[in-house]
Structures are given as structure tokens and as C-alpha cells.
């Protein structure tokens, strides 16, 4: 099963606004881009159109790993607002 399909099983209520903000300039200069490999939801990728690192915040599992793994501190991460984000039914 693909990771996108796994995320689709989760109960998630999406916020209109992203709770993850990337510092585009820093990301553009970043050679490692650990975020792309370490995010358990595989939500980071390089946009085919713009070549920028982008994040699909909607599937976020709220682990915060990206903000810890970003050694350049380019990920501003906060919890989604109350009522939003993933709602674990097993946990």
C-alpha cells in the first residue's frame, strides 16, 4: 500500500491554512533536504513546476520530525489549531 493510501485511512480535519511554513530561500540553498526522506507521511517533495521544496500539510501526522531534522532551521512548525489536523482513533 502506498503511503498516500495509508494517510487516507486516517481521520483528519484539514485547516485552511498550513501549520508548516518553509523558509523558501533557505530551502532553495539546502543540499541535504532531509525533510523529504524523513517525513513519515512523505509529505515533502520538490515541486515539478517551480523546483521549490513544498509540503502537503494536509496529511500531517503531527510528529514534528521535520522541524527537528531540518538542520538549517527552515521549518516553522506549530500545532494545527484546535479542532484541526489528525485525530487518532487508536494511537
Amino acid at each position: 500500500m502506498k503511503v498516500e493510501e495509508k494517510l487516507a485511512i486516517n481521520a483528519i480535519k484539514n485547516d485552511k491554512e498550513s501549520h508548516i511554513k518553509l523558509d523558501k530561500e533557505t530551502c532553495a540553498r539546502c543540499a541535504e533536504r532531509y525533510c523529504i526522506r524523513i517525513c513519515p507521511g512523505h509529505l515533502y517533495s520538490v515541486s515539478e513546476e517551480t523546483g521549490e521544496v513544498v509540503v502537503e500539510y494536509a496529511g500531517c501526522l503531527e510528529c514534528g520530525t521535520c522541524s527537528i531534522a531540518c538542520v538549517r532551521r527552515a521549518v516553522s512548525w506549530e500545532y494545527p489549531r484546535g479542532e484541526c489536523g489528525v485525530q487518532y482513533r487508536y494511537g
Binding site: 526522506r37 513519515p40 487508536y90 494511537g91
Partner: protein
């Protein structure tokens, strides 16, 4: 104005926060608990299992009726290289009788139940509220902010989990560093109770825990796990974030998870199960040296928020520390409320009590376990050594077989009977 204030506001409806609330309510205090999820537990993830032995004196009433999944009566340890594995099971007749030492647990179920207990005692548990900031008065914490709303309180207990933004806001938590955290990914598969018992070799209602080490994390610090719930099995992997960044390969976390459940040693337990959830969470691996400062004027930090988690290799702990630290924080807060003194000096009793309890005693005893377990050879070399050793011992080929001793000696010489192996052995004394 003191009379307009709540006695205590608790940030976070996990085990630490809920147990703190419960204890404060027992002491007759007024408590508001704010939880950002739809219900308590809906943002929480465990592997997982909780060790209850140390908790009996802290929360006896709760343990009696708690909705645990299964008591763990069997430990399965598997060391793997890329294509073979060595597995050991530990069972003990005494473990099959109550009082049980540990239980598997699902947090969405467990924490929600506990929040009902808190409400029955008269506590206000308010879900769907993200705490955005703290209120200050005379240089000390004096409540919380939720959006535009202010909730003044004499005491704040920050139990907001491993990322603790509350502790960060007052400079109690160190900045999040890759070396101090691991990422865990978990899948829950629905399976009938009877099938679980048959596959794991369990009697009705009893449970097992599985630990997998070696190539499932490509030798990176971490491992895989399996826990039997009542009608589901939790499977997952944990990898040190620092180790991941240092690893030379092109590992991807979600693919490591796929690789784990695809291993026949794991797949045999999950076959036919329906995937019900895909979860991730971080775990503090910083140990005793990486603890947050535990208090400041008007505020105490408990559970994961304080970095109270311990990896002892074969056992991993955190939920027991969360429960006990929540209770101890509540007792310290209750004393401060009685005195009407919320200074850091008065609240320092919290740290003192934690040091006298199993929580900080165990974390102190195992203060070196992180550096020992993170030695790259433990997971990178030893699983390979054992797999190759067993291969040599069991193999009968076409030609004449070498003596067992010679084969074993040769393999041991390659992997462990060397200077590095001696250093690893000596390192073990630090645990």
C-alpha cells in the same frame, strides 16, 4: 486578583496532564485541562506498552479499572540481517498471573477513558483548544492564552508532550536537536482476538511484545516493534533522528516502515489484518542529561514535555514516568496552593520529589544507556554476527563440514573478537 483565578490550568490531556488533574481534584482543587484534540488521546501515540509495577502507589484506583488492551506475558526478540534472522522468546509462568507487570495500550481509547474519570471528579476537560501562549504576572507564569481568550491560574502544569512549546516559551526546554529525538512510525492492523492468540501463541486475553533489531533500520539506532492489542496488532519502527541524518544511505522513513512489515518475520503476524491507522510521533532519547528544567515560578513541566523517557535497550519507558510525574507535579502544586506561594523556590519541591521517586532514579541509573545503545556496532554488526553464526552452525553443504568450534571462532573473530568488540563490551558496563 487571586479569587478570579483557577487553582490550576493543565496544558495537554495525555497521561501526565490527566493524572495531574485527577490528583489535584482529589485534593479538592479547581482544575481546567485544555486539550487540542477532539478528545483526550486523539493526538497521542504510543508503541506501546505501559509498565504498571511502579505506578501502583501513585494511581491505585485508576489501574484497577483501566481499559488496557492485553497484559504482556511474552517477549519476542528478533535480530535480523538482510535475509536471515535469529529469534528468541521469553516466557515465564509467573508472568501469566496477576499482578501483571505491563500492558499494551491504545492511547485514543485509554486517555479518553481517563478524561472521563477526571470529569466525574469534577474537573473541566476542554477539548479542541490549542494553548497559544502563557500569561505572566510579577515575572512568573500566571495562566494561559487560548486564541484571544485569557485563562488566569495560580498554577500551570505543562503536559503538552514531547515537542512542549510551553516549556520552550519560558526557556525550560532545550532547542530540539536531532541527536536528542527519535521518530516512531506505527501502523495498527485489525485482527480477530483468536487469530492474534493463535499466531503469537497466547492464552485468551493475554498479550505479547516484539522487538526487532538490525537491518530493519539499516543498522541505524532504533528498531522495530510489535504489540498485541485486544483486536488489533500495533507494528512500527523507531529511528534516531540524529542517526538518520548521519546515515550515508538514501533511507526514507515511510519505506523503512514498508520494509519492516514486508519482512516475513513480521508479516506472518499481520497477514490478513486490515490497516486501520498510520501514525507517527517523536520520542525523547536525550535521557537524564537532556531533561528540561522542570519548574519555574507558577509552572511545572511533566511527562514527555519534560523529556521523561528512557530507552533501556530491551525495555522502553515513558508512560509510567508520565503518570508518576503528573501525580508528583499535582502534589507540588497542591502544596504551593496551600501556601499561596508559587515561587520557583517553593516549586523546587517537585524536582526533589521526582529525584526521590523511581522516575529520576531510573533515569539517573541509566544515564549512559543512550550513548551505549547508539554505538553503531550494536545494531550494525551484532545482528549480522548472530545471523552468520547460526547459518554456519545449521548448514550442511556438499563438502565435509568444518568443526563447529572453528566455524564459530572464525565468524566471531571477524565480528566481535577484536578491539572494537572489546570496547563495546566495556561500554556495556555503563548501563
Amino acid at each position: 486578583m487571586a479569587e478570579d483565578k483557577m487553582d490550576a490550568v493543565i496544558v495537554g490531556g495525555g497521561l501526565a496532564g490527566l493524572c495531574a488533574a485527577y490528583r489535584l481534584l482529589e485534593a479538592g482543587r479547581q482544575v481546567i485541562l485544555l486539550e487540542r484534540g477532539d478528545t483526550c488521546g486523539s493526538k497521542n501515540v504510543t508503541g506501546g506498552r505501559i509498565y504498571v509495577g511502579p505506578l501502583r502507589k501513585y494511581v491505585p484506583a485508576i489501574l484497577e479499572e483501566a481499559p488496557f488492551e492485553r497484559p504482556v506475558v511474552k517477549e519476542i526478540v528478533t535480530l535480523l540481517d538482510e535475509s536471515s534472522s535469529v529469534q528468541a522468546e521469553y516466557v515465564n509462568d509467573r508472568w501469566k498471573q496477576p499482578p501483571y507487570m505491563s500492558y499494551t495500550v491504545l492511547r485514543a481509547v485509554f486517555d479518553n477513558w481517563l478524561s472521563e474519570k477526571v470529569m466525574e471528579k469534577g474537573g473541566f476537560v476542554i477539548p479542541k483548544r490549542r494553548v497559544d501562549g502563557l500569561l505572566f504576572e510579577d515575572g512568573r507564569v500566571a495562566g494561559v492564552k487560548v486564541g484571544n481568550e485569557e485563562i488566569p491560574a495560580n498554577m500551570v502544569i505543562a503536559a503538552d508532550g514531547a515537542l512542549s512549546f510551553m516549556a520552550e516559551k519560558v526557556g525550560l526546554r532545550k532547542p530540539l536537536a536531532p541527536a536528542d529525538y527519535a521518530v516512531a512510525v506505527k501502523e495498527v492492523y485489525r485482527l480477530e482476538a483468536g487469530r492474534i492468540e493463535e499466531r503469537f501463541g497466547l492464552e485468551e486475553g493475554q498479550g505479547a511484545a516484539g522487538l526487532f533489531a538490525g537491518s530493519v533500520t539499516k543498522g541505524m539506532f532504533g528498531g522495530g516493534f510489535l504489540y498485541t492489542n485486544r483486536e488489533s496488532v500495533s507494528a512500527g519502527i523507531v529511528v534516531g533522528i540524529g542517526a538518520f541524518l548521519e546515515h550515508a544511505g538514501d533511507a526514507e522513513m515511510h519505506r523503512l516502515m514498508d520494509g519492516f512489515t514486508a519482512r516475513p518475520e513480521v508479516a506472518r503476524y499481520l497477514r490478513g489484518g486490515e490497516l486501520k491507522e498510520y501514525a507517527a510521533h517523536i520520542i525523547s532519547e536525550a535521557g537524564y542529561g537532556g531533561l528540561a528544567r522542570l519548574y519555574t515560578g507558577g509552572m511545572l513541566v511533566a511527562g514527555d514535555a519534560a523529556g521523561l523517557a528512557l530507552n533501556m535497550g530491551l525495555t522502553v519507558r515513558g508512560m509510567d514516568f508520565a503518570v508518576a510525574s503528573g501525580v508528583i507535579a499535582a502534589e507540588a502544586a497542591d502544596e504551593a496552593l496551600s501556601k499561596g506561594d508559587f515561587s520557583a523556590e517553593t516549586l523546587s519541591v517537585y524536582e526533589k520529589r521526582l529525584k526521590e521517586s523511581f522516575v529520576l532514579k531510573d533515569m539517573e541509573t541509566f544515564r549512559h544507556s543512550g550513548e551505549v545503545l547508539e554505538r553503531p556496532r550494536f545494531l550494525g554488526v551484532y545482528p549480522h554476527f548472530l545471523c552468520e553464526l547460526f547459518e554456519a552452525l545449521f548448514t550442511i553443504g556438499e563438502g565435509p563440514k568444518g568443526s563447529l568450534y572453528c566455524s564459530a571462532r572464525k565468524i566471531a573473530g571477524r565480528y566481535i573478537l577484536n578491539w572494537q568488540g572489546l570496547k563495546d563490551f566495556l561500554a556495556l558496563r555503563r548501563m
